[in-house]
Amino acid sequence: MDFELDDTQRAIQDTARAFARERVAPAAAENDRLRRFPADLIRGLGELGLLAVNVPAAYGGSEAGAVAYALAIMEIAAADCATAVTMAVTNMVGELVARFGTEEQKRRHLPRLAAAEVLAGAFALSEPQAGSDAAAMRTRAVRRGDRWVIDGAKQWITSGDVAGVLVVWARTGPADGGGGGVTAFLVEQGTPGLQVGRHEDKLGIRASSTVALSFDGCEVPDSARLGEVGQGLRVAFAALDGGRIGIASQATGTIRAALDASVRYARDRQAFGVPIAEHQAVAFMLADMAVEHDTARLLALRAAALKEAGRPFTREASMAKLWASEAAQRAVGRAVQIHGGVGYTEDFPVARYFRDARVQTIYEGTSEIQRLVIARELLKDGASRG
């Protein structure tokens, strides 16, 4: 048992941290206020190899592993969650293509995603009436010779407008109750019949783009199919387990940002003649934030380490996502409290952290879905033993 990072992991962490401090953090408040997609930052992440951290080097990826990826997300998220979620979705799409794609698909898409030649990848699974219950999907794809015609609507699609390539799930057969009948496709931006709809006006992560998509007779060749016909949900669930590590890492970064800001403020701000950090009421909030940060980080890194070792990690990823995202709510709440009135203004970053954190218990599986997954896994195994 060894909790120390190896050299590659440390190097990725340092790289991400430096970029986060020098480039991402200074731009975050303005990008948030203007709802401005940070294209320059995304290109910068591409140059550093942070858009395809866990993708083979042969296809332009960094091939640094799932732990390094989690560490990189933590660092970027500590500066700006919106940039981090854009980065996370691109990494997720890259990993999916690397895992399920044909050689041709890998050669076509991975180097461009890794280098930010296309600004992002997108993951088009959710629909207006099918969120956590992916089996209720209505978008369908009909085969015509060696082509597929996709019709339907998707919603809540991160980077759906800026993505050069989107993974799109569509029903290709009847639902069999076991999650069958759905197939995944790689659809390139600009394909006729693919329309970008409304941009969501979000509470937080406002510098990330979230859009609705419509597919109206959108045709793709059979060579754009990702994985086998009818195996789409298997593809989706494999991605979501990894995606949960990404959100757990993002939430961990949020907690650290909230803690760091609170420590700085509590040292400076005086009340009753001393810095408020000297009042136990404040100091103990900082202690609790630190403990919750470390638990979130350890759970996220454990899930990542299991993934990297090729072992099952479904339960662990759900635990990390559930715990980290809920701990983040508590941490940002405490951070605002420690800041008092100024914490409620956009003059200090904690207000943004407070808004950004809120989505973390919702997207990539709500807390309720995580608890269902955990309960299902533990009732199957019988006990929680490490």
Binding site: F3, L298, L301, R302, L378
Partner: protein, 380 residues
């Protein structure tokens, strides 16, 4: 980063789990009810090397690492939390400081038989008016020629009723406050030593605790551990390790309650189906399992830091704080899942709940842990 256990660590865990299932779990309810010290089980723990897990073999210990110790603490406490604290005091609070600060002569006399489990030690820091604030202690030790003479009272001393030797902290120079504290190894057959009657406790009732009285208690000067004035440093360094043990104990208590809650929920039917079919129950179990895993990671991280020989005060404090508060939440939920049966003594979850409560108090209250952690955060 490698979160897998080594083969040796896995073996220790499995051995302890098996021992706990066989020897501790079936008896824990009776020991609790009768306030009975589990002498036979403690003897077996000694034979297994568990009273001095991280003590090198040449000094009578098992020569294993602190990760193994933390795993052992979890498993033994899962079987019986009272037995767990007896073991923790022997390992963390007694053997560890004697190994670290003792001379070879002291190790021979005061470590070997203790690490082997033939004798039992205790750690006497707390006093009636001085708990977390150790610098306020009133017990004094005065040098007279080749002897020290101790006067004072120690309180709530776990293993006190059975101990052969007490590691006692006393003021040798009151003016220097905490820097005037020294540590002494006091055999309990020394003249001027006596014990109070065992405390009647809410939980961990298989372990005994009592007051220790020193009235002109004379011991040879060579029984001083470390230099004069080293006492506070020895006590605080020891407690860093002790907190790993108690965190492991709190974790084991929670795991026991969780396992029993899962087993009960699978059996118990309501509204025509097992209660595991209701999200209200599933979600409680999911939260319990998640918190248990989070606590275990903190405990193992602190133990691994100790094994690497780096400072681990904040890590130990985090593990202790989180695991103990987690344990109270998890054991309480286990009672909730059991309903009325959770409130009666035919089931063990009420005991787990009582046992968990002390882990937030001893070896540094939750408040002391938060002080340690916030100081570290504000310094960092």
């Amino acid at each position: 980063m490698d979160i897998q256990l080594t083969e040796e660590q896995r073996q220790v865990r499995d051995l302890c789990r098996e021992f706990a299932d066989r020897e501790l779990r079936p008896n824990a309810r009776r020991w609790d009810r009768d306030h009975e010290f589990p002498a036979a089980a403690v003897k077996q723990l000694g034979e297994m090397g568990l009273m001095g897990v991280a003590v090198p073999a040449e000094w009578g210990g098992a020569g294993m690492d602190n990760v193994s110790y933390a795993l052992a603490m979890e498993e033994i406490s899962r079987g019986c939390a009272g037995t767990g604290v007896i073991m923790s005091v022997s390992n963390s609070l007694y053997c560890d400081p004697v190994l670290k600060y003792g001379t070879d002569a002291q190790r021979k006399e005061f470590l070997e038989p203790f690490a082997r489990g033939e004798k039992l030690g205790c750690f006497a820091l707390t006093e009636p008016m001085s708990g977390s604030d150790a610098a306020e202690m009133r017990t004094v030790a005065v040098r007279r020629g080749d002897e020290y003479v101790l006067d004072g009272t120690k309180n709530f001393i776990t293993n006190g009723p059975q101990a052969d030797v007490a590691l006692v902290f006393a003021m040798t120079d009151k003016a220097k406050r905490h820097k005037g504290i020294s540590a002494f190894l006091v055999p309990t057959d020394a003249r001027g030593f006596s014990r109070g009657k065992p405390d009647e406790k809410v939980g961990i009732r298989a372990s005994g605790s009592c007051s220790l009285f020193f009235e002109g208690c004379a011991i040879p000067a060579r029984y001083r551990l470390g230099e004069e004035g080293d006492g506070f440093k020895i006590a605080m360094g020891t407690l860093d390790g002790g907190r790993i043990g108690i965190a492991g104990q709190a974790l084991g208590i929670a795991v026991a309650a969780f396992e029993e809650a899962v087993a009960y929920a699978k059996e118990r039917k309501a509204f025509g189906q097992p209660i595991t079919q209701f999200q209200a129950i599933q979600f409680m179990l999911a939260d319990m399992a998640t918190e248990i895993d989070a606590a275990r990671l903190l405990v193992l991280r602190a133990a691994a830091a100790k094994d690497r020989g780096v400072r681990h005060s904040a890590e130990s404090a985090m593990a202790k704080l989180f695991a103990s508060e987690m344990s109270e939440r998890v054991t309480s939920k286990a009672i909730q899942i059991h309903g009325g049966y959770g409130y009666v003594k035919e089931f063990d979850v009420e005991r787990h709940w009582r046992d968990s409560r002390i882990t937030e108090i001893y070896e540094g209250t939750s408040e002391i842990q938060r002080l340690v952690i916030s100081a570290s955060v504000l310094k960092g």
